[in-house]
């Protein structure tokens, strides 16, 4: 790069140390999950996969993983469909009122989930949605909308509006315009949004703590119980799988972005 400026050793080593502070504590769960001891510790004599066996043999953990997966999938569909349509229309209309609505869409990123969770706890009783999978899907879907609105709006910023006018001029109606002109061009943005909406639901705990009791027992809720009750190395095995899964999704997102940019 022209005019490159190299930082000194102090800046570089400080940055490195902070990066280690961010990453190392997360990586520590890997050796702990393979401990040969009966409590949370580093392996003493040999590596053991017994806690992974525990995990895969446990019907409770398995049921929670499956439930979380289906909830996240449902919430992602809800967020992606409504969020994408919203972002496209907001981009096209671009009025003050619409921009206000768009700002409203970002509220779930700012309002603490505890406030929303206690609200839902009361509100869902009317709708008879407490402790229902459908209720959790709605709650996670609605709070996932901002991620989709943001990624799709970013993708639309690079979209040439003349393409739309041309398609209109040739007689395309709204649904043809969406399906053949707009959606294909912003697909990477939609996929990015879908990935983030999925991770959001998959990891969400606070809302679930309030609106679920016996029937809905998602993975984060089971981890929460595990941390608060019996901390055994099986938890570390779960943590490793979750880290692995998240990194995989993030790499998928990076690949999608590269395709979009390149």
């Amino acid at each position: 790069m022209e005019g490159a400026y190299k930082p000194g050793w102090f800046a570089r080593s400080t940055g490195l140390i902070v990066a280690l502070y961010l990453v190392l504590p997360i990586l520590i769960v890997l050796p702990v999950s393979m401990t040969d001891q009966r409590f949370l510790s580093l392996p003493h004599e040999s590596l053991s996969l017994q806690y992974y066996r525990n995990l895969f043999a446990s019907p409770e953990w398995f049921a929670s993983i499956a439930q979380s997966f289906w909830i996240a999938l449902g919430a992602t569909v809800l967020a992606v469909v409504s969020g994408t349509l919203f972002a496209i229309a907001a981009w096209r209309l671009d009025r003050r009122l619409v921009n206000l609505m768009r700002a409203l869409m970002l509220l779930p990123l700012i309002v603490p989930s505890i406030v929303y969770a206690i609200g839902l706890y009361r509100y869902f009783r009317w709708w008879d949605l407490l402790d229902r999978i459908a209720g959790v899907i709605i709650a996670h879907g609605v709070t996932g909308i901002p991620y989709v609105v943001i990624t799709v709006s970013t993708a639309l910023a690079a979209f040439d509006p003349r393409l739309e006018q041309a398609a209109r001029g040739m007689g395309a109606n709204l649904s043809q315009l969406l399906r053949w002109v707009i959606l294909p061009r912003i697909m990477p943005g939609i996929l990015s949004g879908a990935i983030f909406a999925f991770i959001h639901s998959w990891d969400e705990l606070v809302i679930v703590l309030f609106i679920a009791s016996r029937d809905v027992f998602t993975l984060p809720r089971r981890i929460w119980d595990g941390i608060n009750e019996n901390v055994d190395p099986t938890m570390a095995a779960v943590a490793v799988l979750l880290v692995f899964f998240t990194v995989l999704l993030l790499l998928a997102d990076l690949a999608v972005r590269k395709k979009r940019d390149g």
Binding site: L16, Y21, L22, I28, V111, G119, V142, V149, I223, T246
Partner: protein, 278 residues
Amino acid sequence: MQARNAGWWALLMPAFLLLTVFYIAPILQVLSISFTEPELGFGNYERILTNRSVQRTLSTTGRIAGITTVLALVLGYAIAYSVTMASERARRWWILCVLVPLWISVLVRAFAWVTLLRRQGLINEALIGMGTIQEPLELVWNEFGIIVGMVHYMVPYAVLPMLSAMRDIDPRLMTAARGMGASRWTVFSRVFFPLSLPGVLAAAVLTFILSLGFYVTPAILGGGKTLMVAEWISVQILDLIRWGFGTMMATVLIVTILVTLGVFSRIVNMRRLFGGGH
């Protein structure tokens, strides 16, 4: 023209209705309960002035959020600076170091800190093994543990707005300043740092408002002894069934956050933050 736009307006509706019915409505209900239960009026709010538990929670929350914000800014600045100065290839790794922790489950991270910090945790074991200490240190289930975990959570959020501000700084400015004989420190303190300030301010607002309402990390690493606002609200609602009291605090929390955000809204751009890493 109007008829053509009607189609676009219709597309706005699914998200707008979902948000109004299933997000805004329950939150408005929270706000209204704070004025109506147990009786109509400002009774719940008067307790801010009289109730010790409310005051202690508010001051604990303000203190922890403040300390967390300052530490996250300092640490985040070091990372953002390194990313900005890194070569194109190295930059990708740096950004991964920020994005991966950002998206790793908050529970996993809190769990990792419990593993490290508890009495029989890895850090205490190591220190005792080396003979540095005799008795295990109290590293968790107190304010120290909460702050360690919260800073770890907030650093990536602090990095992103600072990074986006630093990327707008022309690197030739620093080269020029060096060329004219300024020391590294002068270049940083007189040229780079002032230009990066808007990003620092945005990061400060963001980490502060996120810290205020944080639930999971303080609940796990605080061990129920040090209550921040979010956990206090949950205790009021779930354990003590005092809805008026709990929703009053929730309202105070929301108003504080929205006012902070409103004051700084020109600087903080939420869309840019999550908009895609560049």
